[in-house]
């Protein structure tokens, strides 16, 4: 516990004996006790509630825990966790890294992650996109990595543009050394450009990721005009807002770096979206002096993102869990599974964390699953079943993942019986399914 007399401000304390100052240590100690209690009474892993207690006990805790470290923040609608894991792997080539690998991406989760690695000189933290401006105010990050912005929950649509504006304001007023930003998302470009105007005016490293989600970006964030998208470019037709020239870019055979070299990307994780995440992580790691080839080698081996993409088993049958929270994420997930004609499972809930209106299912091109047998699962499986019916996809409903996997197994022939069954689900649906996998 702290030795200082009550009421004395922390600034008068003697220099801290260790990286973490006594007050912060006390707050973290309380947090650890609460976490343990939470686990004991079966409320979950306990890290978030413990972190909340710590943040409540010590308001400058996050800032203090970041003090003296080089911190990378990762934010965006989709790909935060994966990019953060990629970055952790890349930064780990240079020593210990503090990271919120469990995806707890508000201040409480960050505090717990930083407290767990007091001696790590580098930290990479995924940050909820709405919290980013507040976190930027507390933490002077070395790098801010901005992935993409698309609509997440239908009861909150206006959000996307407000978030971009909030990011832009924060980056324009706060010192940041470097922003690594997706050049192919106009809302991200709009937000990141704020850094170019700021007093701290760091630099912006643009990354060409080739990830297009045009439904939320048709209106120009600069002038309200229309943005035209072509195969590999975009520009506002009414003002000077155009795609910046990328420093890093995904090309057919890999990632083109600033030196012009093309590094082959042979990732353990599937899909185009993860190639984009890898490009973003490599560019961000380079800002902390990790050589791009070293970063690519390290992140290529990443294969498990807090249970997502994990190949698990349900009653001995292998399944691969893919998380897709919104139309943009579902498009990417469908693209990840389109390499085969094997049966698949799709699963959604509509709890508050998912958004209570699953109408967005009609913005997802389920027609791409035609020719495959698909089992609809989750609390809103009947919404999915109707969507699949109108998409003319052969399907059935199952009340649990276990039942869905049994149905799929019954439909498989011998040739494809060995591969894992793809299961795409939204947030709480995947959480539910993780509880059903074999331990």
């Amino acid at each position: 516990m702290s030795q200082r007399p009550p009421g004395a401000p922390p600034a008068r304390l003697d220099p801290p004996p260790a990286r973490i100052r006594p007050l912060a240590r006390a707050a973290l100690g309380t947090a650890a006790a609460v976490s343990a209690l939470s686990r004991r009474v079966g409320l979950g892993s306990g890290s978030v509630i413990g972190g909340q207690v710590a943040v409540f006990a010590h308001r400058r805790l996050l800032a203090q825990l970041c003090d003296g470290r080089r911190v990378v923040l990762v934010s965006g609608t989709n790909g935060k966790s994966t990019t953060n894991h990629f970055l952790a792997a890349a930064l780990a080539t240079r020593g210990p890294v503090a990271t919120n690998a469990d995806g707890a991406n508000m201040d409480a989760g960050m505090v717990v992650a930083l407290g767990a690695e007091p001696d790590a000189a580098n930290a990479t933290l995924e940050c909820d996109e709405l919290w980013l401006p507040q976190v930027l105010r507390q933490v002077g990050p070395a790098v801010v990595t901005l992935l993409n912005l698309s609509r997440d929950q239908l009861d909150r649509t206006q959000e996307v543009r407000s978030i971009a504006d909030g990011w832009r304001r924060a980056l324009a007023t706060l010192p940041t050394r470097a922003v690594v930003a997706n050049a192919d998302d106009p809302l991200v470009v709009w937000a990141a450009s704020g850094a170019l105007e700021g007093p701290g005016a760091g630099r912006v490293v643009w990354v060409g990721t080739g990830t297009w989600w045009t439904l939320d970006a048709a209106g120009c964030p600069a002038c309200g005009g229309r943005i035209d998208f072509s195969d590999d470019d975009w520009a506002c037709r009414d003002c000077s807002f155009v795609r910046p020239t990328p420093t890093y870019a995904l090309v057919d055979d890999g990632l083109r770096t600033p030196t012009g070299d093309v590094l082959p990307l042979d990732l353990a994780l599937p899909g185009r979206a993860n190639r984009a995440n890898a490009a973003m992580a490599t560019a961000a790691a380079a800002e902390l002096d990790v050589d791009p080839a070293t970063a690519v080698a390290a992140l290529s081996a990443v294969e498990d993102i807090a249970g997502r993409y994990r190949t698990a088993a349900v009653h001995g049958r292998p399944v691969r869990l893919l998380l897709a929270k919104n139309p943009a994420g579902w498009r990417e997930a469908l693209q990840m599974v389109d390499r085969s004609d094997a049966p698949a499972v799709v699963s959604i809930n509509a709890r508050i964390a998912d958004g209570r209106d699953p109408s967005w299912l009609w913005d997802v091109p389920f027609e791409q699953l035609r020719g495959r047998f698909v089992v609809a699962c989750g609390e809103r499986r009947h919404d999915l079943a109707v969507r699949l019916a109108y998409a003319e996809v052969d399907h059935a409903c199952a009340a649990s993942l276990t039942e869905a996997v049994a149905m799929v197994a019954g439909r498989r022939d011998g040739t494809e019986a060995t591969g894992a069954i793809d299961v795409i689900g939204n947030y709480t649906a995947v959480q539910d399914h993780l509880a059903e996998v074999d331990r």
Binding site: L130, L154, D155, G224, I352, W360, L361, A389, Y390, E392
Partner: protein, 288 residues
């Protein structure tokens, strides 16, 4: 209005209007659903996506509009009004199905981004205002006006058809004399405090009495959860009874009924009121 709007054997043409402005809530699915239900009855149907830069095609049989945010709604209304094509098509007997922001903008007037009254297209006699009441977000259950011909509810109650959906809107809507409500609210807000009928009962949506224009606050999309409403639009478009569904596709009605029954049960189980649950996200955004 007894004349079918369509002549000859050509495909039914369905215009999905301004999906980039009015495509926020998945309502584009309504066009897909009508088209598929026609095709599965042997009637060819085409969907024409019309962006805000395109001229509105004058040759379509059904025009579908969805929900959107305040700014895009004003923009969509301004562009749709230009040239009066849609009003002309309605006068010729074409069918319009308009959801949420779409319903508000085909009405007489609706609130703009700052609450100011913006003139609508005036093809559906209803007027939307902001009353200062909280945004209506949640499950919406409606007992359809029996005179619309949606039939009895298939759930076995022998009562009028129950329509289910999810509402998400700030405005409240008054239905004028040249329209009647789509139905009365069983659960949720619908047209709200200024949209009550002569008995003081809350109503939902609006149906023109002198044209084939239907407006509703039901998302889901509405026609996915309520195939009877989809078939009403289809009957209007083809000008008579519909052939039976292809037996290979006939399972859709049973599946839709499972969805409808599941949603009805969820609403009846309660705790799905029409009041927004504020979360920390809403607080950060200053939303109420």
């Amino acid at each position: 209005m007894s004349e079918p709007s369509r002549t000859g054997d050509s495909a039914v043409r369905i215009a999905l209007l301004y999906p980039e402005l009015l495509g926020t809530y998945g309502d584009g699915g309504n066009a897909t659903i009508v088209a598929q239900r026609l095709r599965w009855r042997g009637i060819p149907a085409d969907i024409i996506e019309v962006t805000a830069d395109d001229a509105i095609p004058a040759s379509c049989d059904l025009y579908v509009l969805g929900g959107g945010e305040d700014g895009p709604q004003v923009e969509a209304s301004r562009r749709l009004a230009a040239g009066g094509v849609l009003a002309g098509r309605v006068a010729d007997g074409a069918v319009v199905f308009a959801v949420c922001a779409g319903m508000q903008l085909v009405g007489n007037a609706f609130p703009g981004a700052d609450g100011e009254s913006v003139p609508g297209l005036g093809i559906l006699d209803c007027t939307t205002e902001r009353t200062g009441e909280p945004r209506a977000v949640g499950e919406l259950l409606v007992e359809a006006d029996p005179s619309l011909g949606l039939g009895v509810d298939p759930s076995g109650t022998n009562g009028p058809m129950q329509l289910t959906g999810f509402e998400n809107h700030a405005g409240r809507t008054r239905v004028g004399r040249r329209a009647r409500p789509l139905g009365r609210v069983v659960a949720g807000v619908g047209n709200g405090s200024i949209g009550t009928d002569t008995r003081g009962q809350a109503t939902e949506g609006a149906v023109a009495t002198d044209a084939r224009v239907v407006g509703t606050y039901l998302h889901g999309p509405a026609l996915a959860r309520n195939p009877a409403l989809a078939d009403l639009l289809a009957r209007w478009v083809v000008g008579g009874d519909l052939p039976a569904l292809d037996p290979e596709r006939a399972g859709i009605d049973a599946e839709s009924e499972l969805l409808r029954a599941e949603r009805l049960a969820a609403v009846r189980a309660g705790n799905l009121d029409g009041v927004l649950h504020r979360t920390w996200r809403d607080r950060l955004l200053g939303r109420n």
